[in-house]
Each structure stands twice: as C-alpha cells, then as structure tokens.
Symmetry: C2
Subunit: 434 residues, 2 copies
Amino acid sequence: MSQTSIGIGLLGAGVVGGGVAKVLRDKAGPLGALTGRPVTLEGVLVRDIGKDRPDGPPVVLLTTNIDDILDNPRVHVVVELMGGETPALDYMLKSISLGKHVVTANKEVMARHGPEILALAQKKGVQVLFEASVAGGTPIIAPLLRDLVANDVLTIHAIINGTTNYILTRMAQEGVDFDVALKEAQELGYAEADPTNDVEGVDAAYKLAILSTLSFRARVKDTDVHREGITRLTASDFLYASELGYAIKLLAIASREDGAVQVRVHPAFVPADVMIAKVDGVLNAVEIETDLAGRVLFHGRGAGSMPTASAVIADIVDIARNVAGDVVPPASLKLSEDVRIRPMLDLETKYYLRLNVADRSGVLAQIASVLGQLDISIASFIQKKSDEAAQTAEIVLMTHRAKEASMQEALQLLEALEVVVGVGNMVRVEEWQS
Amino acid sequence: MSQTSIGIGLLGAGVVGGGVAKVLRDKAGPLGALTGRPVTLEGVLVRDIGKDRPDGPPVVLLTTNIDDILDNPRVHVVVELMGGETPALDYMLKSISLGKHVVTANKEVMARHGPEILALAQKKGVQVLFEASVAGGTPIIAPLLRDLVANDVLTIHAIINGTTNYILTRMAQEGVDFDVALKEAQELGYAEADPTNDVEGVDAAYKLAILSTLSFRARVKDTDVHREGITRLTASDFLYASELGYAIKLLAIASREDGAVQVRVHPAFVPADVMIAKVDGVLNAVEIETDLAGRVLFHGRGAGSMPTASAVIADIVDIARNVAGDVVPPASLKLSEDVRIRPMLDLETKYYLRLNVADRSGVLAQIASVLGQLDISIASFIQKKSDEAAQTAEIVLMTHRAKEASMQEALQLLEALEVVVGVGNMVRVEEWQS
C-alpha cells in the first residue's frame, strides 16, 4: 500500500456520504496535519453516476462497481454509508477480508452482525469503527469504550431517534395529535414517507442493541429488544403527563441485574425535572448510569449531514493515525457468552393508565378491585372530561410499582369489565433516584 | 521493565487517590482483561504513613519518599493526585524524564504548564493523560481530542465548578442569599473552609484554560481568563432572573473569532430553556459548539472519589493497552503559535443591571440618557420594591447588545449620578441561537 497517503473508499454519496466527501476536501489540510499523512478520497461507490452532485465528489472518482473500490490498493479505509443490510454487510465483510479498515454509520448491520464483523476484523488485524451508528454527531461509542472503560454500566436511558422526539415535542408543546405532528415532521424532512422504522421504535432498537452490546460486553441483538412505538399516544396523554409532572419520551432503556439484561424501547413518563425530559426536538441524548462515574449524559445532534460526518471523520482519523504510525490497536471489545435476556414480563415499574369508562358510581371500585387482585395499587387518580351524551368519562390512574405480567393481565381484565368502554392507553413510568 | 504487569505509582492517597487504589484492587480482574496484562499498584507516595486508611492501599506500599516511586523500575505509570503546583509539577517532569507515563487530575499544573509537559512527554516517547482534570467523571478531554477532532470549535459554555453550581442552585431554589448557601455547602463538604478558589472562579479558570488550549489548539493560560466570582449575587438577582425567564450560572465561556480567543469566567444570565440552564446542584456540564457537529453537551459528576477515579483509570487503561501492545501513540495535540487573546473590553453582549435609585420622577430618563450616550439601548425595564422610608427604589434593566467597554464606562457614570444610590449588580446575558 502507498506510504504517502491514507486512501478512503466511500460507499454511498447521499446526505451523509456527500457530507463526508465535502469535509475530506474542505479540511484536507488540518486532517493531514492531524494524521501525519494526507487523507485522500480514492473512489466513491454510487448508484447513479449521472446524478447531479453540486457539492459532491468529483465525477472521476465515481463508480457503480464495488470492485473498483475493493481492488484499489490505494484504498486503506472503506467508509460504508449506504445504510441497510444488503449489500452493505457483504461489502464490509469483503473489505475486512481484503485487509481494509472499515468505518460505518450502519446501525442495522452493526446491531445484527456487529460481533461477527468485529471478530473478523480482529482476525484480519484491521479496525472497524462505527461511532456514527448511534446518536450521529454526539460522541457515545468511543466515550463508552474509552472514558467509561473502568465502569460497570448499570442502566442506559436514551433518546436516540430524532424523528420521534420531534413528534413528541410538538405533541407536548402544541397539544396536537400524533397524525398532525407526524405530517409536520414529514413536511420538514424529519420523517420519511413511510415512517414505520422511526415511529415503531425499530431504528431506536438497532441503536439500543449496539449500545447494550458495548455497555454490557454481551451480545444483545435488535430482536432481543421489547419494542413499542408512539402511535397510540394522544394529545390527552400529554396533558395528563404535564399535569402529573412528567414529560413523555420514546426511551430506549437497558439495564443489567443479576447477570440478566433487559432491553426495551417504548414511550415512557419521565419526571419533568430530570435532564433527559428536557431533550427536545430532533436532538438525541444518551444517559449512562455506572458504578463509578454515576450518571453521565451525552447530548447533541443524532442525524444530519455534517454531524454524522463529524463522527465518521473522527473514526477515519483514528484509523489513519494508526495506519500512519503502523500501529495495530488492541481489540477493545471482548464479549462474554453468558448473558441472559430478561423477559419483558419480569419488569417491575409504575404505570400510567387512561381508561374510558361508564360515567356512573362504583366504577372506580370495580377497577380498583381488578387491580388489587393483581397486587397493583393505585398511587393517584384523576377523573376528567365526562361525555354527557355518551354517559362516559375518562379516568387516569398512576400506580405504584407493579409487575408487568400483572399489568398485562389487568389490561385484559379491565377491557372485559362492563363499565370499561376501553383502555385508552398504558404508559410505563420511569423513575430516577437522586 | 517488567513484561508481566503494568505497574502504577500513585502520588497521593487522599479522596481521589484512595478511590483509585480501591478500584485498582476491586477491579483487578476486569482491568487485566481489558489491558492484556495485570495492572498492579507498586507504590503510593503519602505525607503520613501512620494515618488510618481503612479502605486504602496496604501499608507496605506506602512511602514518604518520591524516589521510592521514581526509582522503581516496575512503575510504568505515575498517577499524580496530590493537587497543587508544588511539588506535583516537579514530580511529573521527573517521571517523564525517566520515561514513565503520567496520569494526572491536576488542573492547576495542566492549565499553567500543560503544553511544556506534553512537549517533554513527546520528546521522551511517553503519554501524559489528564481526563480527570476537567469535569471529573464526565468524559470531555478524550471526546474533544478524539470524537470532535474533525471539528473547529466555535464556543464553549461550561459549568465546571460543582461548589458554585450547588450554591447558585440553592440560591435559585430557596431564595437564600450567598452567605447562607455557602455555609450550607461548607457543612455538606461541597465547599472548603476557605472557598476562594471556587467562589472567585479560580478553579473554573484553570479548567477553562485546559479546555480552550485543547479546543483551539492554541496556548491559553489561566491568567488569560477574565474572571469574576459569584459573591456579588443576591437573592433578588435570582428573583428578577426567574421573572425574566433566565437562570443564573457561573459560566466558563470560550470563543474564537477572527483568530482571536476570548476566555472568561463570570456569572451569567442563561435562558431558562437551554440545556445548560437545567444543570443543577454539584453537577458539571460542558457544551461545545462546533462547525460540523453543532452543539454537543457532556453532563455528569465533576468531582468525588469514584467519578474522578473513573476518569483516572480510563487514562491508565489507555496507557496500559499501549504499553502492553508496545505502541507509541502519535501526539494528539499540536498547538499553533499565532493565537491572540481578545481583551474583555471587546466583548459585545446583553446586560442585566440592578440599580438602587432615588424614588422620584425623571430618574429613568437620566439613566437612559447616560446609557444612550454610550450606545447602550434598554430592552426592558422593571421597577421594584420602593423603600418609602429611604425614598429609594430598585430598578432592573435588560439592555440590547452593547460593548463591554461602554458598559464599564456606563457603570462609572451611573454611580456618579446623584439619583443613583448604587449599582446593585451587573450580570452579562448569554444568548443561544436555536
């Protein structure tokens, strides 16, 4: 390989890839000074060479053939920014097999195949870095592996999907329903035409799987994550939450107890005075609670061309410095085999319940009786909005800590009560000890 | 040197040193697995060997003679946790000269002599790491040098003194005056008997000098920092701030414009809805605004035995991995020579003014006239608390952006006005563009 420059092969020239190409060009001087060698873009894999790229890489570097990147001996680092599992995974594995380092922002591939990819990389003596795969421009993976390395991670609470946080922020601030806020997010380009991956928590589950694997040094897959989206939340849930002193956030939560890991993505009531309740709009935040450092929170942009490029280039510089110094960095991730995923039904937490009930006396007694049989005790109770025509009323309950299994059973029993018109919503309540 | 273990020589066995010794002992297994070699405590420099250390290092390792550490060939890493400039600086330089790596939490030494220390370290091929010197257990230095490496830092806004943030939080929440809150902080062990270094911003200035040097890759010393403490704030300032939609924080602020760096530590009005306004109690936060990543905020514990040990051990692991892998990491900090420190009088910002004035008509006109002559225009005005006996009133002004030089001149002219009994306080107002 060339000793004079660090060559980059870029897979994908979309929003993020274009940003990386731009920064590599605009900051060529400082990046060369940082790494000790020029960092040069040697080739860019695109789908359509004819596409107009006013601010993109020069046409001479573009190719639609992956082999032009893989077979190029001047490419030391393959930067995968195509997204999706296929063909990105294949290209990454081939790059590693050919002795090329890999930088990726691909949360899907890293959540599903991260440990295998890292194992192959170690075997081949190359680095695979993926800082941009979680929380975009907000540093989280390197700090976890470097700064918090002496810590045992106890819990993670994260807002790692900007689209849903934007929607929830608008619902809270404007009192609008989900559909209205989603449409607005789509118009602003924060949500895709098919918003499923965001609003159903799929994207957050990928990122939580990556964070959990690194934090607990145990294999946690996206399919291990219990996942509920935000589509069932209504404007009234936000009103009640605010009245009760809470924000509603789509949280990605991981915790380890007795060697078992619990991972879940779902809407949660968050006490209004904790930092993560104050994370608004498209911003991301990851709060890591550890045995030594206590709670550490990282907050910033989770997406976007330049923020993501910031993380990608940091990974490139890391690798380039090692290439320039002829250094093989020690593998920083050893996974233990013996972790158990704790089932969601083992959860114990507080719950918010919004019920639509018949507006007559004795209703609360019936509900309390159902809950009481299952050892769920009521902490507070609000009755709101009688609908005189329909003779119904909306009631809101906050419970003390109870078992998820009991709550699931209670929801079925409540639905079956003649006085219950319907369960409006159940939202879990997260607690922070100060 | 021994190939079988990474030896640590500890200077200081106080709160932090004791914590580091405890973690090295309690986590010996995992730390050895992380670094590939056992990490062993080889000696501890203390002032008094006879002192009772129930949870501390074994007596056999204690010494009062620095040469026992420096001359010990099994010590690869000297961990300096004595604090203060003398003799810590001397011991660090000697360690480096002898080819030993250094980890330190010493903000004073790093603020004053950091660049010289790092230059000597590079010459001697050893590492000097100092993550714990700023914001304790909250990762900030490694993320700056690693994750944000591709960014140009534009501004830093930081709460990096837990003592003063605790005092200000109590003043805001309880409506108490400075003296009361300070006494409480002293009783809780958050403030020292002589609180000068904290309440006058000296400690924050050290840390800001370190952050600025790293962020701007330019030598910034603690003596370059314009520094004002929190002793002049009163309960009434917090009432007015709250009424106007602000929190009051002791901010450490650095910015670069046109190649000049401005560094200052002073109380500031912070809009209540920005993240840093919500950092309460002894917690720390550093917000870094960059060209690519936008605003990134790091939040967590800035002091304490275990949080600080978390940062110190992360640095030890970093070095131990390199020692185990026989790796000389490239110097990550190259300073430019040509930075100018922008004088405080060049600042342009908004101001909060609290004045004690004669309670009669025409007073505001006189004040507005003085300000107007100096191109300071009033954005809003509150009159409060007439004191009928003294025939005085308290008035509060918020200005538009104005020059610091003009404001300083205005303060003198206002003091000289016959209708002004006294300037109660002037506090600068920080703005965040969204």
